[in-house]
């Protein structure tokens, strides 16, 4: 397999930094937003940030594992979206709210 060099203009670190920024945004959104749907979107953001790291390292080390793994993550994310949205719908039906702090009856 011939060596395919990374484009010189974009160093490896930048990809990782972008991934870290995206992940941090996801964490921040997850922690500080109160709307369930926004929280849900933040989770998707974190997943995709990790996907970016996977692909980056896969490219760097010339191994296909990272690519395959990111596909798995996408599949899981799609399944999770389906289930998660169904849960959100049910919560809204029962409680007429999307405030995440209102949904806390499983405490203690």
């Amino acid at each position: 397999m011939p060596e395919i060099p990374l484009p010189q203009s974009v160093p490896l670190a930048w990809y990782l930094i972008l991934s870290a920024i995206l992940f941090s945004l996801g964490v921040a959104g997850f922690l500080f937003r109160r709307n369930v749907i926004t929280v849900f979107m933040s989770i998707e953001l974190m997943l995709n940030a990790v996907n970016l790291s996977f692909v980056t390292f896969s490219y760097k080390f010339k191994q296909v594992d990272g690519h395959i793994f990111s596909f798995f993550v996408m599949v899981v994310a799609a399944a999770e979206a389906a289930v998660g949205l169904a849960i959100i719908l049910t919560i809204f039906k029962n409680r007429q709210t999307l405030e995440i702090d209102e949904v806390s009856s499983l405490k203690n």
Binding site: V27, F30, L31, F32, R34, V39, I100, D101, V103, S104, S105, L106, K107, N108
Partner: protein, 626 residues
């Protein structure tokens, strides 16, 4: 093959039928099953024994039948094997023969009692276990029968289970026997260790092959532990206390189990293990001393009891003591001879007493009887036969067997002979005391019109009376000679043999003087020897001594130490403490479960940051490598 297994199986079938369906059967069916199964077993015994030549000089070798392997573990191989030799033949005839008679008698005696089918089911179950015990060809199978008869004894003593004293007596019998059985099972373990087998044939041939002049400690230990088992089952000092209380059961039970058969199991077991005992002079000495002590003390207690069944119960203990004297002094066949004659006359005494009690509608106190000779003449006649037999009047059955035992005792130690002779005098005295109190003088009871028992009851009594008088002419020691070689017939000195002949008559004469000619004499004697009388009347306070020395410490110790301290305190406390601690920790930790998803997420993030910091500071990689 003689199909010996049929013998115990017949009563077992009777037990199963009556036990499972007896509630719905009419009495006639229950009687047929119960008596029929035992009678058939008796007939099968006769058939097998005559086929083996037991009545015509044969059966000098043991006839063994192997059915199947029961336990196979390493080199230990225990089979379900039945065997017949001459000793077993004698026991089989006693058990099934007397058993049949007593079953027939019980049909009359129990006619008005509740729980009729239950009684006969237990009685048949007893026959099954007793026959297993005598037929067994190894120690473990014998132990099965041994425990089984103990169980049936318990069930039948507590037959009137609505009465507290009856259930207490049943418990007492069972628990006291546990002590003996514990010794017996230790003996079985030791035999397994030292002989590597429990089969009678190979254990005894190995024991016989041991050099006779050396007696290793372990064989003495085995013999003494077997003796512990025998003292429990055969009611010897120190474990005899259960037998007098066992009279709480119905009278046929007292006759069958607590006089004729079960209590002689210990004697049978020691005679069976004679090759082990013969290698331990110490153990034989202990057997003889326990026997003579039991015979003497039980006889003294019997002198002053007022309950007719109690008198005969102590007499049973005393006569069992004689059997042990016979065994201990090496006259095994004399011991078995006494088992047989005792089975005749003691079964008859109990059944006769039952007939008296039946006539008086349940009265057992001798002071409430008197003058019954005219009212129940048949019972009076058969009881007279039994009484002269147990008193050892010359040429009755008891005379022959007791004579042999005492001769052997004289050879062993003369003091034992004289104590035994004195005891024989006391035996004659207390039996005739009971006889005269019940049958002569004026009627002192409250029950009107005592009535003679029906034929179904006095028929068996008549047969037993004939056996009590003539049973001594069956020469058991000669018959058992292939098993227990007879000692050289050393003659007693004339004084001893003359006193042996006359001692029974002297005892009877004394009883006649005290209770017929001068009825006030016993009372004045009792008041002039008040302390001794009180001591004996209260059975030497042995029950009270055991209560305060063993029973109360065990109960109190169990209650305060084992129950309150260890069980409730330590064990429950530990378990409850674990639960309480978990709840306390949980009640603190559950505040972390706020229910807010964002707080959980915060914890996750904090944890992740912590891990990263630790990794960065310490360089620990937690398994993450390039």
């Amino acid at each position: 093959m003689q199909n010996l297994w049929i013998i115990p199986l017949l009563p077992l079938a009777g037990f199963a039928l009556n036990g499972l369906f007896g509630r719905r059967f009419p009495k006639a069916v229950i009687n047929t099953i119960a008596v029929g199964s035992v009678l058939l077993a008796f007939l099968w015994v006769l058939k097998s024994l005559s086929a083996l030549g037991a009545f015509s000089g044969g059966l000098e070798e043991t006839h063994v039948e192997h059915y199947f392997t029961w336990i196979q573990s390493g080199v230990l191989n225990i089979g379900v094997d039945f065997a017949v030799d001459r000793l077993t033949a004698v026991m089989l005839l006693i058990v099934t023969g007397i058993g049949t008679l007593i079953h027939i008698y019980a049909v009359g005696y129990m006619a008005h009692e509740g729980g009729y089918y239950r009684f006969f089911a237990y009685l048949n179950l007893f026959m099954f276990f007793m026959l297993t015990l005598v037929l067994a060809q190894n120690f473990l199978l014998l132990f099965v029968g041994w425990e089984g008869v103990g169980l049936c004894s318990y069930l039948l003593i507590g037959f009137y289970f609505t009465e507290k004293f009856a259930t207490d007596a049943g418990n007492k019998a069972f628990i006291v026997n546990r002590i003996g059985d514990f010794g017996f099972s230790l003996a079985i373990f030791l035999i397994t260790i030292h002989f590597g087998t429990l089969d009678f044939g190979s254990v005894f041939s190995q024991a016989k092959a041991l050099p006779i002049e050396t007696s290793p400690g372990w064989i003495t230990a085995i013999a003494l532990l077997l003796l512990v088992g025998a003292t429990g089952k055969s009611a010897q000092i120190p474990l005899y206390v259960w037998l007098p209380d066992a009279m709480a059961g119905p009278t046929p039970v007292s006759a069958l189990i607590h006089a004729a058969t079960m209590v002689t199991a210990g004697v049978y077991m020691i005679a069976r293990s004679s090759s082990i005992f013969l290698h331990s002079p110490l153990a034989l000495n202990v057997v003889a001393v326990i026997g003579i002590a039991t015979a003497f003390f039980a006889a003294t207690i019997g002198l002053v009891q007022n309950d007719i069944k109690k008198v005969f119960a102590y007499s049973t203990v005393s006569q069992l003591g004689y059997m042990f004297v016979g065994l201990g002094t090496g006259a095994f066949s004399a011991g078995i001879f006494h088992v047989m004659t005792h089975a005749f006359f003691k079964a008859l005494l109990f059944l006769g007493a039952g007939s008296v009690i039946h006539a008086l509608s349940g009265e057992q106190d001798l002071r409430q009887m008197g003058g019954l000779a005219k009212k129940i003449p048949i019972t009076c006649g058969v009881l007279f036969c039994a009484s002269i037999a147990i008193a050892g009047v010359p040429f009755t059955s008891g005379y022959f067997s007791k004579d042999l035992i005492l001769e052997s005792a004289y050879e062993y130690a003369p003091w034992m002979f004289w104590v035994g002779l004195f005891t024989a005098g006391m035996t004659a005295f207390y039996v005739f005391r009971a006889f005269f109190l019940a049958f002569t003088g004026k009627y002192r009871g409250k029950v009107h019109h005592p009535h003679e028992s029906p034929f179904v009851m006095w028929g068996p009594l008549a047969i037993l009376a004939a056996l009590s008088l003539g049973g001594g002419f069956i020469n058991i020691p000669k018959y058992l000679e292939p098993l227990f070689p007879l000692a050289e017939g050393s003659k007693l000195p004339p004084l001893a043999s003359f006193s042996l002949l006359s001692v029974g008559l002297v005892g009877i004469a004394l009883a006649y003087v005290m209770y017929v000619l001068a009825p006030g004499l016993p009372e004045s004697l009792a008041s002039s020897f008040r302390p001794i009388y009180t001591l004996i009347y209260n059975k030497y306070f042995i029950d009270e001594a055991y209560d305060s020395a063993v029973v109360h410490p065990v109960i109190d110790g169990s209650r305060s130490l084992l129950w309150r301290t260890i069980d409730a305190g330590a064990i429950d406390g530990t378990v409850n403490g674990v639960g309480k601690t978990a709840r306390a920790i949980g009640s603190v930790l559950r505040h972390a479960q706020s229910g807010y998803i964002r707080s959980y997420a915060g914890w996750v993030v904090a944890g992740a940051i912590l891990v990263v910091i630790v990794m960065g500071l310490t360089g620990i990689s937690f398994g993450v490598t390039r």
